[in-house]
């Protein structure tokens, strides 16, 4: 934007409306008077060409084709507020706060006031300023220096240090809230693997020490023909700050295999997590969402599911009771990965 600005390289003589005869006193007067009445009465503007000594001035040229100049009030170390009339092609009059104590600016003896005025007027447009989050005056200056440095033949050491410092401060003040927020947001990944089991004993609700939970169905009750039974699994459920004691946490299909052993599947489809149903006509398991089908032994029967149904470990030697390790597994992948 700056580079495209046709005014960027204009000398004071090129500024059509500026009076180059230069009367700084007049500037003072004008600046301090409440309103500068007409164009061309701002002689001090002629001095602006000393831009080499005033690095930030590069942007100030944009004043020329600005429709509006933002109003900046009470800016940090503002000493005086001056109202400046329309300058050159500035269409709109703006109220401008003056930064008096800025060191670099003060070095520019002749244009001190005007330059500062103009610079502050440009604050809203400063490339660097918009990025500064804290509004410290150092940033303003360093921003000015930054862009000025690009134009001039090397800023002074002080300027460099200021830039470094300002950059560091800016980064720190920006990163601290952002990073702490991000880390906070990553909490689920950071606390991954931490047990939600509050007392650490591994038992909760109906669970035994090995994580088996008793089903509400017994071996003799399973149909001999292998028809599967759907059974709701109950256990304590911990959700963030809540613990819901002994509530349904999922459900399983239980059936007696041909060899008479009990096999148990999670009802959640290994494809995308809908619930697998039993179809008595086809005598198979079937998911109503994406049509996954499985044989009664849990092996997949069409290419839709990525793997067989998730069988669960049944505790051996429990007599008529059926104890099962209830787990959920990730969907959509061919491996069985516990969540």
């Amino acid at each position: 934007m700056i580079d495209e600005n046709p005014q960027a390289d204009l000398t004071p003589e090129d500024l059509p409306e500026a009076d180059s005869s230069g009367e700084t006193d007049g500037v003072q007067e004008s600046a301090e008077s409440s309103m500068v009445p007409a164009e061309g009465e701002f002689p001090g503007f002629a001095e602006i060409d000393e831009r080499d000594e005033f690095p930030g001035f590069a942007e100030i040229d944009e004043v020329a084709d600005f429709a509006e100049v933002a109003e900046v009030a009470d800016f940090a170390e503002v000493a005086e507020v001056a109202e400046v009339a329309e300058v050159a092609e500035v269409a709109e009059v703006a109220e401008i706060a003056e930064v008096a104590e800025v060191a670099e600016v003060a070095e520019v003896a002749e244009v001190a006031e005007v330059a500062e005025v103009a610079e502050v007027a440009e604050i809203a447009e400063f490339p660097g300023f918009g990025e500064s989050e804290d509004g410290q005056p150092e940033d303003v200056v360093s921003s000015a220096d930054d862009s000025g440095a690009a134009k001039s033949d090397g800023p002074g050491r002080r300027s460099f240090l200021t830039q470094l410092l300002a950059g560091t401060v800016g980064t720190v003040v920006g990163l601290v809230p952002v990073l702490s927020g991000l880390v906070f947001f990553l909490d689920p990944l950071i606390r991954r693997g931490q047990s939600s089991d509050p007392d650490g004993s591994g038992t909760s609700g109906g669970k035994d020490s090995e994580g088996f939970v008793k089903l509400s169905v017994t071996r003799p009750l399973l149909p001999r023909d292998g028809t599967p039974q759907q059974v709701t699994v109950k256990d304590d459920l911990v959700d963030a700050w809540n613990k819901f004691p002994n509530v349904p946490i999922g459900s399983v299909w239980v059936r007696r295999s041909e060899s008479g052993e009990v096999i148990v599947f999670n009802t959640i489809c290994p494809h995308l997590g809908c619930s697998v149903e039993f179809r008595n006509v086809e005598s198979d398991f079937y998911c109503p969402c994406h049509l996954s089908a499985f044989k009664l032994d849990g092996t997949k029967d069409n290419p839709i599911p990525p793997r067989d149904m998730d069988s669960l470990v049944v505790k051996p030697d429990t007599g008529d009771e059926i104890w099962v390790q209830f787990k959920n597994y990730r969907g959509g992948i061919s491996e069985k990965v516990e969540i």
Binding site: E71, P188, F244, P288, G331, I339
Partner: protein, 653 residues
């Protein structure tokens, strides 16, 4: 005065210039209807911001308050259904408008230089809007949103490299819970709208920088945005508003039953505008390449082609390709969407699932609106403890293997069985249909038509191949003999007696009708009691009474120990909740069917709570409901009657 005030303001803000800039945009070729789409989109977004903010004031994102607060918004708060309806339907319309806008931009070549960047900005906006739809779908925490969103996050978990991490981050953990809601909500009401505003600002800024893409410069004399185009845009926005307002009032945003991870939701479907993707994933050939292929790579590649359009469109042939591609995509998406609707429409099981979902949704609305409101544990417990909701499910799970309920499985589904030749027939019940259990018809049938009433037992394997076991034979028993004396029972002189006995038996069962106790005719009931206990029949059965065999008949249910049983079924309080509890717990007890019994004991198969729920449902003992019963609905559909009262009609919607 005002003029000078405005001048003062303008002096200091320059608003007049901005306003002028905004309003006096050149419109070469005149204002046209074809330019309204972008404006309607901005309008719909405005509606979403406004209604969204107000919904926010009443929404509470946590697993046991989200559904509850949405229920409260929808059903109890002033204008709640309107505001939520506007938000709900405008969101869907936004997708439609966005699609129209995109297709128009491509066809008109408005993506070509120098407008490439704005086209990409538009695509970014589209992703943001889709993100808003996805996150918003879950927020009510109802079964529909819960299960549909599970699919979306599972797909996300299948994305390459960071899939699982991304899924857990957005879910707030490995499983759904409180933090899934807080995170979805933060995205839905924070990050995504903020991004939308930023990108919309850029989109509009760049749009103004390049101006309208004029289709035909000579269509009409050049005009300015204000007032000609503004009027057309305004009318279009009005049409949009009327449409969503109408939908909010006449249809209303749906709120299905509260999310329940332990309860299947067979009606799970994504929002209709994602149905094409859903249907696409069902193709087996898609699955051959893996889930990520169908759900991530293919849609990603299609979006990539769209994003590359401005580059391809540099050449005339490229533009033609873009247009052709857009039409193909539109037809493909439209076709898959229609296919999905068609298949679901003709799938009996899906329709049954939808019916059940609506039933639950209506029922939970009644329960949550009841005098006790919603318990702290959440609305899901209301449904879990409701006999009207759980009874049919328990029946389908435990009873329908042998019994039917008015011909269906308890959940409104007709039962089919496959024949060896592959054809399907209605399944044959092997026990009595319990749809009218303990009703006057049932009692009358037991008394006067015993053999026929229990005839379905003869379909059972155990009856056909009894082996050595002594089985219950509905044709050959003392009861069958007594009841088989049709001449005596149906004689005119006994007509009143039968009626009284039925009245007595019905009163003993003490069922409720939709939660309301049924009052019998006291004199008739007493007469029936006398007939049962003492017998006072006319004709051939004179001198017999129920109590001759069933010594227990005559009073409320009284359990009889094995040693004291008389060898005949216990008829005290026959059909009542207490009787059912005893009978279902152990039908083979001496006081019930004894050794002849084939019915399994349900004390072992069901928990005490489940048994209680089932019995309360069978005896009609639950909070009264206006939800149409499955059997009433079937009857209505069979009779082809279109005339239904408003209440049950809306229950089905």
């Amino acid at each position: 005065m005002i003029r000078s005030l405005l001048a003062w303001l303008d002096h200091r803000t320059g608003y007049a210039g901005v306003l002028h800039e905004a309003l006096y945009e050149r419109v070469p070729g005149g204002a046209r209807w074809r330019y309204v789409w972008g404006s309607t989109l901005v309008f719909t977004f405005g509606v979403q911001m406004i209604t969204g903010f107000f919904l926010w004031t009443a929404y509470s994102p946590s697993a046991n308050t989200a559904w509850e607060s949405v229920y409260y918004i929808q059903n109890e708060m002033t204008f709640g259904s309107i505001v939520r309806g506007l938000h709900h339907f405008t969101a869907q319309l936004m997708i439609v408008l966005m699609a129209v806008h995109l297709v128009q931009v491509i066809i008109d070549g408005a993506y070509k230089a120098p407008r490439e960047v704005n086209f990409w900005l538009g695509l970014v906006l589209m992703q943001i809007v889709l993100g808003l739809s996805l996150t918003g779908y879950l927020l009510p925490w109802d079964q529909k949103g819960y299960y549909a969103t599970q699919v979306a996050t599972k797909i996300m978990g299948n994305a390459p490299v960071i899939g699982v991490e991304a899924q857990e981050l957005i879910q707030g953990g490995p499983k759904y819970g409180h933090h899934t809601l807080t995170r979805f909500f933060a995205l839905h009401a924070g990050l995504l709208p903020a991004s939308l505003i930023a990108f919309l600002g850029l989109h509009l800024y760049v749009f103004r920088r390049h101006g309208l893409t004029v289709k035909d410069k000579n269509h009409a004399p050049e005009t300015t945005f204000w007032p000609d185009q503004v009027l057309k845009d305004g009318v279009a926005c009005l049409a949009v508003l009327l449409l969503v307002l109408g939908l909010s009032i006449w249809k209303g945003a749906e709120l299905s039953a509260p999310a329940n991870p332990a309860e299947n939701y067979a009606a799970a479907r994504p929002e209709w505008y994602f149905l094409f993707l859903f249907r696409f994933l069902k193709f087996e050939f898609v699955e051959h390449f893996g889930l990520a292929f169908g759900s991530i790579y293919v849609p990603g590649a299609l979006m990539g082609v769209v994003a590359a359009m401005p580059l391809v469109g540099r050449w005339a042939i490229g533009h033609k390709f873009n247009v052709a591609f857009t039409w193909m995509l539109t037809i493909g998406i439209g076709g898959l969407t229609l296919l999905a609707f068609y298949e679901d429409g003709k799938s009996e099981s899906h329709q049954a699932a939808i019916l059940e979902a609506h039933r639950d949704s209506e029922r939970i609305r009644e329960l949550a609106g009841g005098p006790n409101k919603i318990p702290v544990s959440g609305a899901v417990t209301l449904l879990r403890e409701d006999p009207f909701t759980q009874g049919p499910r328990l029946f389908a799970k435990h009873c329908f293997g042998c019994h039917r309920y008015d011909g269906h499985d308890g959940r409104g589904r007709l039962v089919y069985e496959g024949r060896p030749d592959g054809t399907q027939v209605r399944g044959t019940p092997t026990a009595v249909d319990l749809g009218n259990f303990a009703s006057p018809e049932w009692m009358r049938a037991v008394v006067v038509d015993y053999s026929n009433h229990f005839a379905p037992l003869k379909n059972a394997q155990w009856f056909r191949n009894p082996g050595d076991a002594e089985v219950l034979n509905p044709d050959e028993s003392e009861m069958a003999d007594w009841s088989g004396d049709a001449e005596a029972l149906n004689s005119a002189e006994n007509a009143k007696n039968v009626e009284a006995l039925v009245a007595f038996l019905v009163a003993q069962a003490a069922h409720s009708n939709n939660g309301q106790a049924v009052e019998g005719d006291a004199a008739k009931v007493e007469r029936g009691r006398v007939l049962a206990v003492d017998g006072d029949w006319a004709g051939a059965i004179n001198g017999t009474s129920c109590a001759d065999c069933h010594s227990t008949v005559g009073g409320p249910f009284k359990a009889v120990g094995d040693d004291d049983a008389d060898g005949y079924p216990n008829l005290s309080g026959y059909g009542s909740a207490a009787w059912l509890t005893s009978f279902l717990s152990n039908p083979a007890a001496a006081q019930h069917y004894g050794e002849k019994n084939q019915m399994p004991s349900f004390a072992e198969r069901m928990t005490a709570e489940e048994l209680e729920l089932l019995i309360h449902w069978l005896t009609g003992d639950y909070a009264p409901t206006a939800v149409e019963r499955y059997e009433d609905r079937r009857e209505r559909e069979l009779s082809g009657s279109k005339k239904v009262d408003g209440k049950s009609a809306s229950a089905e919607e």
